[in-house]
Symmetry: C2
Subunit: 427 residues, 2 copies
């Protein structure tokens, strides 16, 4: 806990940026308070696997306290930060209490936005947290159950119709995996429906999927999605979403299950900094990742907007890690009165998985797709998963899934409006 | 799906009794409809491991559809049965629809009861379903977080005080494991509290814990619990439970976290049969497990009360499996016009685990406890877990937990009253 003479660093957010900053401060003469709403660090790149029943929550999450238990200068706190008070140099929690800092790092990331249509949230849940993933898993699995119980063929088809809105990496992963579930995993399990007749549509407002990749790889991705049974609809914005389906350019498409994988908005915490934000609510930071006029406040990860060589640094995990590490090193060097440097993003490449044996890889010009890309993606993701145990379990699960087409976590827990809560006699 | 000429068997409940009955009908000339509120069969003996963060839900659950996908005469339906209408020979669902049967098996098990104090449910959750287990996991893990954030020493001690009500197998397992978490798993992770100072109390109204075991093993269990740091309080009924603690024989004991492991009541479905139930709401069945006056209705598992050699058959998994198998065989033999037999429970022994390297075993007179009993318990439970994948993952998790004192599933998901829902920017 911070003594009166220690330099007190508050880090808000235990994602990639916050955690890597905390670690970079391991040997610095500071006291760090790491604050997160959740008790865990989440390996977000594999969150879609929890949503599609391939992995369970603990496979991709580890308690922050546990990760940092041996770093003596860190205190982890599970709490909700409501705002920053930059003039007083303190943060305010939702319970009204405050905490003073000498240096602050905001790394609370991004959430999804419905572009002003917040009423869509109830019909088209997004995917950012473990809670989101478990909610989505329940929705996806229940849709097949509802279809099986439905006797009206029109309603049945609507339950077997899925729309994924947003053709970025998350949307592509969800569409590809959901199609695999329908075509392979659930085979032979139902008596009234053929799960393989399910319609999975990926809807992208822009001209192509995976727009952060070169055009040739977007084309490969589209072809691979189609091979997996996904209908790819590009250039078509969504006009409306309801419980029954979506409206696309004036045409109603029935779909009882809609997933929102479009529209990223930065966490609202940046609003309390008193600086102008960009359109997505991100904080434009100086080249050393500090807030203009506040050298004691850093912003890193998806909450920061950093322009480098005329292009924004992408909102991906490697960028967040690099920013976090840079912030930690800058704080350390400042206290040691050493010169500090500007942040420089090193782009090692861009990967996206699509489904079984399908992925695209762009390693600074070296581009490939298909099976080889999928193995590359798999190796990279297992390697970067935090924690020895998780890597082993994830590998084991994937091996079994690959071999059997099965998915380990096809368990419906929790309840939605359609089912009663706290019923406890299902055996 | 049942054709007009098939003998239609409805089985309500996909627990041990229902699933084993379904399997015993694999080659019988019947159509089976297996109905459960959940989509999965749950390996209930390991549920406490999910509640205490050792295993994740999919480790101990498998989709019923998947288990039964190759049994062509079975249709699985995820639905809520509201009542039986024995005169019309049909069941009614909560949506108002009905389904006719030729033969019915009710195997909906038991839930917990608060002996008329339903207001205790909010303060002292029980453990019967996966939802219960995840709720409990959240409560147990959050208690340590709250203690860490609390500056008032009295309140801090209350957050570090746990009461488990009920000294049966579930209460004993929970108390022993929770004490291990406090003393070992969380070591070095907190900065303001010492988790090992947590007080875990196991409260039993009767004279001894594990009352279904011989007295000598109850004594061993108590000694092993005390060695693990649990305070065992026997002969003391609970008078009151509130958010702040419990009242025991007039004395108030602070405890912000109370778990209810006492009081089992049969599922309410038995009430619609029109026969007199026993005190716990169970259905007294004839020696062939049918309901008096209704040879076409069977009851098995925890919902049935069967007296054999003057003693009730215990509510344990092996008894439920044996009953289920007997019901399936009886239906098959009846249709083949073969003679049927009465049910006979074969008692192979009684096991209970207490915690790390601590258990008691009673194999028809061969009694042992401690490390050897623990290994025996472990082997038996892994062996009986459904599904190859689950066994491997569970073994792996246990090996890692044993070796490192760590617990893989220490992830807080969902929300309770104290935390906001659908917050999505925790990184």
């Amino acid at each position: 806990m911070p003594g009166p003479n220690d330099h007190h660093v508050i880090i808000v957010g235990g994602g990639f940026a916050g955690l890597w900053a905390t670690r970079a401060l391991a040997r610095a003469p500071v006291c760090v308070t790491l604050i997160d709403r959740a008790n865990h660090h989440l390996f977000q790149p594999l969150l879609y696997q929890v949503a599609t029943a391939g992995l369970s929550s603990p496979d991709i999450a580890a308690p922050l306290r546990h990760i940092l238990r041996n770093q003596a200068n860190v205190e982890v706190r599970m709490a909700d930060v409501e705002r920053v008070e930059p003039v007083q140099r303190r943060i305010a929690f939702d319970d009204g209490s405050t905490m003073a800092y000498d240096t602050l790092l905001l790394a609370t990331g991004a959430t999804h936005t419905y572009f002003g249509h917040d009423e869509w949230a109830a019909h088209a849940p997004g995917l950012k947290t473990l809670d989101d993933a478990l909610h989505l898993r329940r929705r996806l699995l229940l849709a097949f159950e509802r279809a099986e119980a439905e006797s009206d063929p029109v309603q049945r088809a609507a339950w077997l119709s899925f729309a994924i809105v947003g053709g970025g990496p998350t949307g592509v992963e969800l569409a590809g995996t959901l199609s695999e579930i329908a075509h392979h995993t659930l085979r032979r399990e139902f008596r009234h429906i053929d799960p393989a007749s399910a319609k999975v549509r990926l809807i992208e407002a822009g001209p192509r999927v995976l727009s952060s990749f070169p055009e040739s790889l977007s084309e490969k991705a589209r072809a691979q999605l189609q091979r997996l049974g996904v209908e790819v609809v590009t250039g078509t914005p969504v006009d409306a979403i309801s419980d029954e389906g979506i409206r696309l350019g004036g045409t109603f498409v029935p779909a009882r299950t809609v997933v929102w994988a479009a529209g990223v908005a930065a966490s609202p915490l940046g609003q309390s900094l008193g600086v102008e934000l960009d359109r997505a609510g991100r904080v434009p930071v100086l080249p050393d990742l500090t807030v203009p006029g506040h050298p004691e406040i850093f912003v890193a990860g998806d909450l920061a907007t950093v322009v480098q060589d005329g292009k924004p640094v992408p909102g991906v995990a490697p960028a967040a890690k690099q920013m976090g590490r840079h912030v930690g090193e800058t704080i350390r060097d400042r206290l040691a009165q050493k010169p500090t440097t500007n942040f420089r993003y090193r782009d090692y490449g861009n990967l996206a998985t699509i489904g079984r044996m399908a992925a695209v890889v762009d390693l600074r010009g070296l581009r490939f797709s298909g099976l080889l890309a999928w193995w590359f993606w798999l190796a990279a993701h297992v390697f970067f998963l935090i924690g020895f145990r998780n890597r082993l379990v994830v590998l084991l699960n994937w091996f079994m899934a690959y071999w059997s087409y099965q998915r380990a976590a096809r368990i419906i827990v929790g309840h939605d409006n359609a089912r009663r809560a706290s019923d406890a006699d299902a055996g």
